[in-house]
């Protein structure tokens, strides 16, 4: 399923395949929050909502994430992982902790560090 929208703000997004939880944690740029494992730290570099399937109207997930502090420059750390499938994630974002699923965390671009 492709989402017809949001391509304007993220011209590259349409070429990105859907992320899955089995993605290996890669280092360096182009990494996604949803691929990180417990204990890893990163800095958010962007939001790419088109990379995930969501029942929300276009643009909504991105806005919700920004409102919850997932914004460019935010420091994140995976504190805990749920069960089974190491899902959902408890992510430290600057001064608070957020629970979110890996599926949606794939919309968050990060660089490790």
């Amino acid at each position: 399923m492709t989402s017809p929208v949001s391509g304007l703000r993220h011209p590259i997004s349409t070429s990105i395949t859907l992320g899955t939880t089995s993605d290996p944690p890669s280092s360096g740029d182009g990494c996604r929050l949803g691929a990180l494992r417990k204990g890893q730290r990163a800095v958010v570099t962007g939001l790419d909502e088109a990379a995930v399937v969501t029942p929300l109207p276009p643009g909504e997930l991105e806005r919700r994430m920004i409102e919850m502090g997932l914004i460019e420059g935010a420091r994140v750390e995976i504190l805990h992982e749920g069960f089974p499938g190491a899902d959902p994630l408890a992510v430290r974002i600057d001064d608070h902790t957020l629970a979110l699923r890996r599926a949606e965390a794939h919309a968050v671009l990060v660089t490790l560090g």
Partner: protein, 636 residues
């Protein structure tokens, strides 16, 4: 107006209205309680308050001020029904109410980023704002230092540091409210509302602005709570988390039996004594029967269960105030996803163990309408505290009080746990069916803050339990009392004809009703006495127990009641009948308040009727199967 008016305090006919606005879980309700002396629910998870609550206080300058507590929200865009309440009140769209005259924004001093972003959004509304910088005690403990003066200058909003739960800073806030209201009367022309739904770009711009403000006002961000992190490392551990959650729930149900046993015996003894004393003191006749059989037997049989209900509420209050609720939602998200539910649905469902009414209200925090409806439809299957009397009564009558598994587990507690489990599993099964038929659709994302753990305050827990006791006694003293008098009347008139052999109730209106309903309920093993008790039990489940008390008291042919109601039932019912009644009560939609709140929250008769239909069908079916199976197995 004459000049003299100005010298006395101005008391406007309509008091000025102030709204408490802020992110979830920042202490708005705690502050509301501190300002008004109210006792609204305060707990440590996001989404406690789901409706608007109005209170009043007198400001130091002598102005009567109306204050509105609102559900917490991360933005005015409102993604769930509780956030819609906040948006509508703040924008003046709520049932055509005028917007509040001013707002007290409450912000958690330890997490200013998210909170200040909302403050910036609220400033766009053009109304006077006061920022209450709450949780200053936690901020100090974490070494987080905020310069209130610099923050006030950067935001151009007055800032008052507070510790809502200790009422610290409340007088400062009151003074500031007076000052702001004075300012309001001088510049009457409030700025026009400049708010419109922000785009992602505007949201980012707000965040940019917040960073600038923080650079000026936040001297030290402090350290996040290490204790919370360590506790979570254990309680959210993949191998430990779910077993621990199950253990907590299991302990809760064991404790309901174990801890409550002694006080229940004491109440039982006291009631027996009162009944005997009343019986001895009153002359034989109608009045004696009304008081001993109608009131003491009926209302008393419900009063006995107060200790159990308090134990249950004690556990729920502790879970809610520590911060574990959000963790439970986290742990169960994946499993609940299996039946199509959102992890957040756990919070309304757990509240439903206390009572389905607040549980169904709490479903307002679920964003997606289909998810919310599914949660509402299954909430009454969670065993609410009103079912406790029914379960306990039957268990006490039919399950021996001994321990199994080497003395570790009480058998009665185990049966109780099984009944709770039956409710939970059937709720999940119903959700599974609903989400695959009527409420299809992908799952809503999970974005939920996990608050820091907090030690529950013994005072709050005690006040919560007292409040519960008050509600319980008020119900027993009003609704149940009135129904029992009515039932006693219906069970005593018309009187038995001369020379009748059976008890008088056989010939009464209630007896006729019971005998008329009996054929309908015979396939599931219910006696005519049960049939009578089920009718007033439509009002609320525990009323069925009170009604059984009265019906059996009236059915006694001897002069005195032979022991407790449980003893009477053990002698009168077969085991399959008892089991069948238990199965009935797992499912039956016997609670008027639940049905009316479903009607209100879904805003439709359809879902309420659906609930009655599906729950009654399940109840009858389950009771039928239970009765037939156990009769066959026990050779009864």
């Amino acid at each position: 107006m004459s000049d003299t008016v100005l010298s006395t305090p101005v008391l406007p006919a309509v008091p000025p209205r102030i709204a408490l606005v802020g992110n979830p879980n920042c202490g708005k309700t705690a502050l509301f309680n501190a300002l008004t002396g109210a006792r609204q629910k305060v707990a440590n998870y996001p989404g406690v308050t789901v409706e608007r609550k109005i209170g009043e206080f007198l400001s130091p300058a002598g102005t009567r001020v109306q204050i509105v507590d609102l559900p917490g929200t991360y933005s005015l865009r409102a993604r769930s029904p509780d956030e819609e309440v906040t948006r509508d009140v703040v924008l003046g769209r709520f049932r055509h109410e005028a917007p509040p005259d001013a707002m007290v924004c409450v912000a958690d001093a330890t997490n200013l980023r998210l909170h200040l972003r909302l403050v910036l959004e609220l400033k766009k509304l053009g109304r006077p704002i006061i920022l209450a910088l709450n949780m200053m005690d936690v901020a100090v403990a974490r070494g987080c230092r905020v310069d209130a003066a610099a923050l006030s200058a950067a935001l151009s909003v007055p800032v008052v540091p507070t510790v809502a739960i200790r009422r610290n800073g409340v007088s400062g806030l009151l003074d500031q409210i007076d000052r702001s209201m004075m300012a309001m009367t001088t510049d009457l022309a409030a700025a026009p509302c400049g708010w419109s739904e922000p785009s992602a770009r505007e949201l980012r711009a707000y965040h940019q602005e917040v960073e600038g403000i923080l650079a000026a006002a936040l001297q030290d961000a402090g350290k996040p709570s290490l204790a919370t992190r360590r506790i979570d490392a254990a309680l959210l551990h993949p191998a430990v988390g779910l077993p621990f959650l199950l253990l907590v729930l299991f302990l809760m149900f064991q404790a309901v039996f174990a801890w409550a046993a002694v006080p229940m015996d004491m109440i039982d003894g006291a009631l027996g004594w009162v009944q005997a004393a009343a019986g001895a003191a009153l002359p034989d006749g109608m009045l004696k029967s009304l008081i001993t059989d109608g009131i003491i037997a009926g209302v008393g049989s419900v009063l006995i269960f107060l200790p159990q209900i308090l134990v249950l509420f004690f556990f729920i209050l502790v879970l809610e105030s520590t911060g574990y609720m959000a963790r439970a939602a986290f742990l169960l998200d994946r499993l609940m996803g299996g039946v199509g539910l959102h992890g957040r649905a756990f919070i309304p469902l757990l509240s439903s163990f206390a009572c389905a009414v607040p549980g169904i209200m709490a479903a307002r925090t679920i964003e997606n309408r289909a998810d919310r409806l599914a949660t509402i439809m299954i909430a009454p299957l969670m065993t609410c505290s009103a079912r406790l009397p029914v379960y306990t009564l039957i268990i006490a009558a039919f399950v021996p009080s001994r321990t199994v598994a080497g003395g570790m587990i009480g058998l009665q507690g185990l049966v109780m746990f099984t009944l709770y489990a039956a409710g939970i599993l059937s709720a999940l099964a119903v959700a599974f069916v609903l989400k695959r038929t009527i409420f299809k659709g992908a799952r809503e994302p999970l974005l939920m803050e996990l608050p820091s753990y907090r030690l529950p305050s013994p005072r709050d827990i005690l006040l919560g339990l007292l409040e519960r006791t008050r509600i319980f006694l008020a119900r027993a003293g009003t609704v149940i009392f009135a129904i029992m008098i009515l039932l006693w009347f219906l069970g005593s008139f018309p009187a038995a004809p001369d020379g009748a052999t059976g008890p008088a109730i056989d010939y009464s209106f209630a007896g006729m009703l019971g005998h008329a309903l009996a054929p309908l309920l015979a396939p599931i093993g219910f006696t005519w006495q049960i049939a009578i008790a089920l009718v007033p039990g439509m009002a609320a489940r525990e009323v069925a127990v009170a009604a059984l008390g009265t019906v059996y008291a009236l059915s006694e042919t001897g002069d005195a009641l032979s022991g407790s109601l449980a003893g009477v039932l053990a002698a009168d019912w077969s085991l399959p009948t008892a089991l069948s009644l238990l199965a009935w009560f797992v499912f039956a939609p016997q609670c008027v308040s639940t049905l009316s709140v479903v009607k209100r929250e879904t805003n439709s008769w359809f879902w309420m009727l659906m609930m009655i239909a599906y729950m009654t069908a399940l109840a009858y079916g389950a009771a039928f199967v239970t009765f037939r199976l156990s009769t066959a197995l026990l050779g009864g």
